[in-house]
């Protein structure tokens, strides 16, 4: 019951955020220097074409009016329409999302166990070579530009060794293995930074937990060192870690924009980049907004997982 109430509370808190996000996305278009219609139409366009775009986007109305129209359309699930392909933003997203979602989720599935295991191991073997090695790797992970290491990786594993495809995406419908084979390299490159990030964070969380009195209690009960970590420390370590999974997913999704570019994967990231390069601003605006909504939803889910991990939240 409490959990339900908490969930409703969180939903209530998410509503103003959603509104703010919608308004922010609206003003994105008005950041364009000068006349947005002219910018969108491009330098070669004639006055007539500019006028047409102005009318098409409703830019001939006053700003408050435009904002209301924008919100009204959103409320009906209309995120706008591309001015290049005459395709709705949601349709374009639906076409591209499977690619980005696959990439992000596979990277996430790599990040979480590897990051946590490395972090916990570093904490367990604090001040030994294990700790130093893990922390050095983690530091390199958060310092190296992902797309750069991805290009190097392609040169090594795809071009030179020929083990993995250098680019492209294979839908899941063509089989799990082809799908995974195409995703392994990009997902690993995408996960690199997050693994470093999570390992650092899990290490400090575990060190905090290992310092707690209840760990000493467990040892005083005669619980083995391994079990102390696995049973008594781990669940407590997870509590701060779970709160960062939302950030991690968000960072992964952000990073996928760049990784999709390296591996020529037709995902949401490429959609955004192409839209920017073709000055298809309604598309940019709509996709950004949709992604932000997605994250509000993800953070809600993280919150549910959190209540499940921490009994103190679950009950009061």
């Amino acid at each position: 019951m409490r959990m339900l109430r908490r969930l409703l509370l969180r939903l209530g808190q998410a509503i103003p955020v959603i509104l703010v996000v919608a308004v922010l996305a609206f003003f994105l278009m008005h950041l364009l220097p000068g006349d947005p219609a002219a910018v969108i139409a491009g330098p070669e366009a004639g006055a007539e074409a500019v006028e047409r775009i102005r009318r098409q986007l409703g830019l001939d109305r006053s700003i408050p009016e435009q904002l209301l129209v924008w919100l009204w359309h959103l409320a009906q699930g209309d995120f706008g329409t591309s001015i290049i392909h005459n395709q709705s933003v949601l349709q374009a997203l639906a076409d591209r999302m499977p690619v980005t979602a696959s990439l992000t989720l596979v990277a996430f599935a790599m990040t979480i166990p590897i990051g946590i295991v490395l972090g916990v191991a570093a904490a367990k073997f604090r001040n030994t070579w294990v700790d130093s090695a893990v922390m050095l790797m983690a530091l390199i992970g958060v310092s190296v530009p992902g797309f750069w290491i991805a290009i190097l990786s392609v040169i090594l594993f795809s071009v030179t060794l020929g083990w993995l495809p250098a680019s492209g995406y294979v839908p899941l419908s063509e089989g799990v293995w082809p799908w995974l084979r195409a995703l392994i390299q990009p997902a690993a490159m995408l996960a690199l930074f997050q693994i470093g990030f999570l390992a650092r964070m899990a290490r400090s969380a575990t060190l905090d937990v290992l310092d707690q009195d209840y760990i000493r209690t467990a040892r005083a009960k005669g619980v083995s060192e391994w079990r102390t970590i696995a049973k008594h420390a781990f669940r407590n370590t997870l509590i701060p870690v779970v709160t960062t999974t939302g950030i991690i997913l968000s960072l992964l999704m952000g990073g996928s924009v760049v990784i999709e570019q390296v591996f020529a994967m037709p995902g949401v990231g490429r959609l955004i980049v192409q839209a920017i390069l073709t000055r298809d601003y309604p598309m940019v605006q709509g996709t950004l907004l949709a992604l932000a909504f997605l994250f509000v939803a993800i953070n809600l889910m993280v919150d549910i997982v959190y209540t499940w991990v921490d009994p103190r939240v679950r009950y009061d």
């Binding site: 103003p16 703010v20 922010l24 950041l31 364009l32 530091l139 190097l152 701060p240 760049v258």
Partner: protein, 290 residues
């Protein structure tokens, strides 16, 4: 208790902090890396005699050798020289983002903490900004404002302001509740004075740590945006756009994209080490923040 706790700006403590930093291993390594890179950027014209943008058709695609340490690119430009000059742009962007997001984030955080009526509004705005993945928000903003350094700095700053504001607000809220601040308020100190004397000094530690990391993220993000074609436009070199330009030759002339990437990694590593050191010394409780 009427005395302020050990504040970051108090001379005695400042000295102690400096001494502990000087003894911190990763801080020292990071400090040396960052100083060396900064010097290299400033004195680029003294270190190399080449012009970073002049094209020379006869020496295209030279691999690394004695005359061209990092080789030459498809226009015959010296990659080492371009990396040196690129450091100027990349470090400027990093510094600019750290400063701008620092100033605005601090202002937002302090105002939130001190004037509770504005708190909810400012924080919802920050939540809204944070709902966008940082790099995607920066891409959208940079694209909207046009490809130049200024808009890139603004775009990346906006992306990192919310986190900075949250950290500042949290530290300011802690002091706000302390007795000596209450005492100051009761004895009629103005809001401005409370902010200046009590809230700001207490935020300095966590803020500095956060900004060091922001600097590192900004360097990485600049590179990513340049790679996507939304960064500072060529021919003026930035680490990011050298990689972007060298990408097509990555297989045959790996050195064009390899060395600037190394430079980015080194700069980011330096800032991260610096940040780790600052965090250990200034604010041991702070967790890694993005």
């Amino acid at each position: 208790m009427t005395e302020a706790p050990a504040e970051f700006l108090a001379p005695r403590r400042r000295f102690q902090v400096l001494r502990r930093l000087a003894r911190h291993r990763s801080f020292r390594i990071g400090f040396v890396i960052v100083v060396l890179l900064t010097l290299a950027a400033i004195f680029a014209p003294l270190i190399t005699s080449f012009d970073p943008t002049a094209m020379r058709a006869r020496i295209r695609f030279r691999p690394p050798q004695e005359a061209y340490w990092f080789g030459t690119d498809n226009f015959g430009r010296d990659v080492f020289t371009r990396c040196l000059y690129g450091a100027r742009l990349s470090l400027t962007i990093g510094l600019g983002v750290a400063l701008l997001s620092g100033v605005v984030g601090t202002a937002a955080g302090i105002v939130s903490a001190q004037f509770r009526r504005l708190d909810a509004m400012i924080m919802r705005l920050m939540d809204g900004l944070m709902a966008f993945p940082a790099i995607i928000l920066a891409i959208g903003l940079a694209a909207a404002m046009g490809p130049n350094i200024g808009s890139l700095i603004v775009a990346l700053s906006v992306a990192y302001i919310p986190r900075t504001a949250r950290i500042v607000r949290a530290s300011a809220l802690v002091v706000r509740e302390l007795e000596f601040v209450d005492a100051a308020r009761v004895s009629g100190a103005s809001s401005l004075r409370i902010i200046w004397k009590h809230l700001l000094p207490n935020c300095m530690g966590p803020l500095l740590v956060q900004l060091t990391f922001v600097f590192a993220y900004a360097i990485l993000a600049e590179a990513a945006l340049s790679f996507l074609g939304i960064g500072p436009p060529p021919p003026a070199p930035s680490w990011g756009n050298i990689i972007a330009e060298g990408r097509d030759q990555a297989v045959d002339a790996w050195w064009i994209m390899f060395f600037p990437g190394l430079a980015i990694s080194l700069a980011t590593l330096g800032m991260n080490l610096l940040g780790d050191g600052l965090r250990d010394v200034l604010d041991p409780r702070l967790k890694v923040e993005t």
